[in-house]
Point group: C2
Chain length 424, copies 2
C-alpha cells in the first residue's frame, strides 16, 4: 500500500515499525561506504597484468618514438590511436594526457581564463561575469571546477533524454554563458544516455558567445555493465556537420578501465582547436607519461581489447546494481515514496526520495554507519532545490557490505517519508 494512501493509524504503525527496524540497524554498529564511484578491489585485481608486464628496451620504441625519453607533446602515437578508435574520432584529433581527465578539463578552463580559447575575444579572467550551464543532477567535481573559477552556475534540469534542451537553447543566447558540462553516456548520477535528438540540438547550438564550449565528459564511453557495448554518436563529427567544429572538447580516460587515477586520459577536439592548444600546452609540458601510454597500448592492443576487458568489469558490477535495484523494487516501490533510474552502464543509481527528505535520509544513514554522497552534492552550489536526490555508488563495497548498506538505506527512506507525512 502506498504511504500517501494510508490513514493516520496505518501511517503511525508504519512509522513505529520503521523506527524499530532503524534502531536494530543502528545496533549493528555498521561502518559502510557508498559515497564515491570507486571501483572495488575485485575490479582493481582485473588489471594486475598491467602492473606486471615484461617490457624490454626494444618494446619502448613505437612508431619511432622512444617512450622512455622526453618528447612528443601529443603523447605516444599508439595511445592516441587507441583513444581515436575507442571514441570513433580521428587520430589527429586526440591528445593523450596524464592520469586524469578531470585535470585536462580543469586545465582547459584554466587556459580559457588565462589565455582564452581559440575563438575567445579575450581571456575569461578579463570578463566581469562567466556563466556555465550545469545539467543537474550532475557530477560534483565538474561544478567544483566552475565554482573554483568563480563562475555563475546555472542549473539545467535533466530529462530522460539529457539536459532540458529548450532551456539550454534559451540560456546560450546570453553571451556570458560560456559552456555546458555534459556526461553524455550513462550520465553521473542518473545513468541517462543523451538521445540522438539531444545530441543533435547540442551540436547545432547557436550560442551568443563565440567561445562557448561543450565540455563533453565521455567518462563512461565503454562502461556498459548490462548488455553489449552500445555505439555512441561522435560529437566531434556532429558539431562539425552543424557548422560548430570548434565548439566541443571531448574527454575520456581509462581510470575506470584499468586503475582509477593511474590510467591514461585524453581529450579530443577539432584540428584547429588542437593547433591552438598545442601552442599553449607547449609551455606547460614536454609530454605526459608516455610509458603509461605504452603500458596501456601493449596491454589492450586495440579497442576490442578494451571492450573485452570491460566485460570482466561488467561481471562484477551487474550483481551490485541488481542488488541495489532489487532492494529498491521490493523494499521501497510498494510504498510509492521514491523513484530511481535503472541504468545499463556507468557507476551510479540516482535516487529521488520524497521532496524535502534527501538530507534527512542522508543523516539517518550516517547515524546508522552508512556513508552516502552528501545530499545536494549532485547540484550546483551543493543545493538541490527539492532536497530529493541521493546518489548511490554501489561499486566500492563488497556485495555483502552493499547488501547491509541497502538494508539501512531502505529503512531510512521509509522512516524519513513517514516522518514527513506525520508532520503534515
Amino acid at each position: 500500500m502506498k504511504l500517501c494512501e494510508m490513514d493516520r493509524l496505518q501511517l503511525e504503525t508504519f512509522y513505529i515499525s520503521a523506527q524499530k527496524e532503524y534502531e536494530d540497524c543502528k545496533a549493528k554498529g555498521l561502518k559502510l561506504d557508498m559515497s564515491r564511484g570507486k571501483p572495488g578491489r575485485e575490479q582493481l585485481d582485473l588489471s594486475m597484468g598491467l602492473l606486471n608486464m615484461r617490457i624490454s628496451p626494444d618494446d619502448t620504441k613505437v612508431d619511432g618514438v622512444e617512450a622512455r625519453n622526453y618528447g612528443e607533446l601529443m603523447g605516444l602515437p599508439a595511445a592516441r590511436r587507441l583513444f581515436a578508435e575507442l571514441l570513433g574520432v580521428k587520430y589527429e584529433q586526440v591528445f593523450a594526457g596524464g592520469n586524469a581527465s578531470l585535470t585536462l578539463m580543469y586545465d582547459l578552463i584554466a587556459k580559457a581564463y588565462t589565455h582564452g580559447l581559440l575563438h575567445s575575444e579575450k581571456p575569461w579572467s578579463k570578463l566581469d561575469n562567466v556563466k556555465f550551464l550545469c545539467p543537474a543532477p550532475g557530477y560534483d567535481r565538474h561544478f567544483t571546477i566552475s565554482t573554483s573559477f568563480g563562475m555563475e552556475l546555472i542549473t539545467v534540469p535533466m530529462t530522460e533524454n539529457g539536459p532540458d534542451m529548450n532551456l539550454v537553447e534559451q540560456y546560450v543566447k546570453d553571451p556570458a554563458v560560456k559552456g555546458i558540462w555534459c556526461v553524455p553516456k550513462y550520465s553521473n548520477p542518473d545513468g541517462i544516455t543523451y538521445s540522438d535528438e539531444t545530441i543533435a540540438r547540442l551540436a547545432s547550438l547557436k550560442p551568443a558567445a563565440p567561445d562557448f564550449v561543450l565540455m563533453w565528459d565521455n567518462a563512461y564511453c565503454v562502461h556498459e555493465f548490462d548488455g553489449e557495448f552500445v555505439p555512441f554518436k561522435n560529437i566531434l563529427d556532429e558539431c562539425e556537420k552543424s557548422g560548430n567544429p570548434d565548439m566541443v572538447f571531448e574527454f575520456a580516460s581509462t581510470s575506470k578501465i584499468t586503475f582509477p587515477g593511474a590510467g591514461i586520459a585524453c581529450f579530443a577536439c577539432s584540428e584547429a582547436n588542437m593547433a591552438y592548444m598545442k601552442k599553449l600546452l607547449n609551455a606547460q609540458i614536454i609530454s605526459f607519461d608516455k610509458i603509461n601510454h605504452l603500458r596501456h597500448v601493449l596491454y589492450f592492443k586495440n579497442a576490442q581489447g578494451v571492450l573485452n576487458h570491460m566485460k570482466l568489469h561488467a561481471k562484477i558490477m551487474k550483481p551490485k546494481f541488481d542488488m541495489v535495484l532489487n532492494y529498491l523494487e521490493s523494499g521501497i516501490a510498494p510504498y510509492g515514496i521514491a523513484s530511481w533510474h535503472t541504468p545499463k552502464g556507468g557507476y551510479f543509481v540516482s535516487l529521488f526520495v520524497e521532496n524535502g527528505c534527501a538530507k534527512r535520509v542522508h543523516q539517518l544513514c550516517k547515524d546508522a554507519g552508512v556513508v552516502m554522497t552528501d545530499a545536494g552534492a549532485t547540484y550546483p552550489y551543493k543545493h538541490d532545490p527539492d532536497d530529493s536526490n541521493l546518489r548511490i555508488a554501489p561499486s566500492f563495497p563488497p556485495l555483502d557490505e552493499l547488501e547491509a548498506a541497502m538494508q539501512v538505506l531502505c529503512v531510512c527512506i521509509k522512516l524519513a517519508a513517514a516522518e514527513k507525512l506525520l508532520a503534515n
Copy 2:
C-alpha cells in the same frame, strides 16, 4: 698563440686552415644532435627494473593507502617521504605530483594568475603588469612559461655564485616584480651551484610584492657526475629562518633519475602554502598517479637507493663531459676565443664564444649537420645581448657521435672567431 695576438697574415692562415677543416667536416654528411638535455639510451637502460617489477595486490597498499584507487590528494605518503628525505624537507611540506616538475611550475604560475598565491592581494590576471626575474643564461622552458603568461622578463646576469644579488635586491623593490626563476644546484646551463651567501641573500629578500615567489627548480639535486653527492642548503628552512616561510616553492623530479617525462615530480613549500594549494588543487585533481609513486618507492626504497642509482648515471655522464671539456681545452683554449664552465653535475656545459659569434657558430654547426640548442635560447626573449652563449648538451649522443660533434663545434668556434677578427 691567442688569436688576438696574431698578425693579419697569421690570422689569414688560421682562417684558411679552419675553413678547410670545416669543409672536410661538412663533407662527412653528419647528422648529430647536441640540442637538449635528454639522457642517452644507456641511461634509460639503467632503470629497466622499474618497468619490469613484480607487484602483487598486497604490495599496492602502503600506509593504508591503496595506490590502485582514487584518493590521497597529496600523493602516496611513501613517495612524499622519499622526496622529503632527498630534499631534506619535512614530509608535511611535500606534494607528490605527476610526471613533470615543469607542469607543477606552470600550474603554480597559472594559479597565481587565476586565483592568486597565498599572500596575493589579487590574482595576477587582474594586474596591469607582472615582472619576473630571469637569471641568465638560464633554462629556456622557465622563460617560456613566463612569456606564455605575458610577463615582462628581466634579465639578471649569472655570476660564479648564482644570480647577481645586488641587482636582485634592487629589482625586488618594484612591487610588480613577482618572482625569480632559480636552478640553484648545477644551474642550467652554467652548472653553477649557488653559494651559501647567495642563498642567504635570496632567502632574506624583502620584496615589495607580498606574493613574491622563489621558483626553486632543484632539477639537479642529486645529479653529481663527478665526485660524491654534495649536500645542499634546504631553502625552505633558510626562508623560514629569514622570516619568509611562504616565499619559496621548491621543485624536483626523477625525470633524470629514472625516465624523462615518466618519472615522478614534487613540489615542497611551507605548510601554510600547502594548505592554500590543497584547496586549489582539490578542484584540479583527485591525486596524481600513485602507482608510479609506488613503483619508484619500491624500486629505490629510500634516498640512499637514489644516490646509489645516480652513481650509475655518473659513470655514463662523466666520460661525455670529459670529452667535451678535453676538446675545448686542447682545441680552443690555446686560441683564447671562448670560455666555459667546468661543472661537476647537471646536464650542460655553458660555452661563451666571442661576442657576436654565437649565432654564427650555431649556424655553421647546423650546416655541418650538428644541431645545438638555439643561440640565445638561454636568455629571456631568446635574446642574448652579447650573442655569446651556447649550451652544450652532451648526454644524449653516444660517445662516438659526441666526439664527432665536438670536432665540428671546435672548428666552427675557430672559424667564426677568425671571421670576426678579419672583418675588423
